[in-house]
Amino acid sequence: MSHLGEHHFTIIASYSFTLLVLVTVIAQSYFKSRKIRRLLEKQIDEKK
């Protein structure tokens, strides 16, 4: 197929977008989790 190169670009673009979205969600979930955990530990220390 003469358009082979173009199609490969499309696939890579969609894979990249997917990974981008996934990484964003994972990062947001993870960093928020860390932040809240630290906050909680701080609160528990204050309470004592």
């Binding site: 197929m1 173009e6 199609h7 894979y15 989790s33 809240i36």
Partner: protein, 244 residues
């Protein structure tokens, strides 16, 4: 019961312990499966004779579409359980799942659009399936926004659960409405995006890895986010105690 009830720690404690164990396990499984599925699919499968290598987009499109729908289904069930049995974890599960579901709809739509461009020439077509996913995106966004609009957790859980339950009915109706809109009442789906059903075995195995990987990824994220929510409520409970 006072409006600002202190969080009962019994169930969530057990959950937190379980989550602590499962999260790393799920994370590893997810990582392995997704990477395997995607690389195998991309590098080691032959090109489809009709669509060229383009069909390999199914390795992200199918899992994300599958999850986008099933996550909403899970939210429906979780909302139902909250309204009937008032398990806080249930409401939290729905809240935690929604952003992941939204991300899945984005992936599904964009990958669908990329698949469509060489086939139809444009990035967007008002294909019943793409349109239905766009509508699902709207339902997800509305749900997430409603959670942020109310501070009191039980009330927010109630409102969002009602929205999700009624929304599910209308989302389903919309699916058929869009089909009607695009093609009239009695024509079957005719566009090529449904080809996944006909993919040969050689494509099927990496797809399995990919789907399983995405599912575990969802579970991984769900547990992390639920745990974060529980911690948040613990913080609020402590602050209220301190405030008194």
């Amino acid at each position: 019961m006072t409006k600002n009830s202190i969080w009962e720690f019994s169930n969530p404690l057990k959950f937190k312990k379980l989550a602590g164990i499962l999260i790393p396990i799920f994370g590893i499984i997810a990582f392995v499966c997704v990477i395997t599925g995607l690389s195998w699919g991309f590098f080691y499968t032959p090109d489809d004779y009709k669509q060229g290598p383009l069909v390999k987009i199914i390795y992200v499109h199918v899992p994300s579409a599958f999850l986008a729908i099933n996550i909403y289904l899970m939210m429906f069930l979780a909302s139902l359980i909250w309204l009937i049995r008032r398990h806080h974890l249930s409401a939290l599960a729905a809240k935690a799942a929604a952003p992941v579901g939204l991300a899945m709809t984005f992936i599904a739509i964009v990958s669908g659009a990329f698949w469509g461009k060489p086939t139809w020439g444009t990035y967007w077509v008002w294909d019943p399936r793409l349109t239905a996913f766009a509508i699902l995106t709207l339902f997800y966004i509305g749900y997430i926004i409603l959670w942020t609009a109310e501070d009191e957790p039980d009330k927010a859980a109630d409102l969002t659960s009602i929205l999700c339950l009624v929304g599910s009915v209308f989302a389903l109706l919309s699916r058929y409405a869009v089909l009607f809109w695009n093609q009239g009442l009695h024509q079957g789906a005719s566009l090529s995006l449904d080809k996944e059903k006909n993919v040969a075995d050689v494509f099927y195995q990496p797809l399995l890895f990919s789907i399983i990987g995405f599912v575990f990824l969802f579970l991984f994220l769900l547990l992390i986010r639920m745990r974060t929510e529980i911690w948040t409520r613990q913080i609020n409970a402590i602050q209220q105690k301190l405030g008194k």
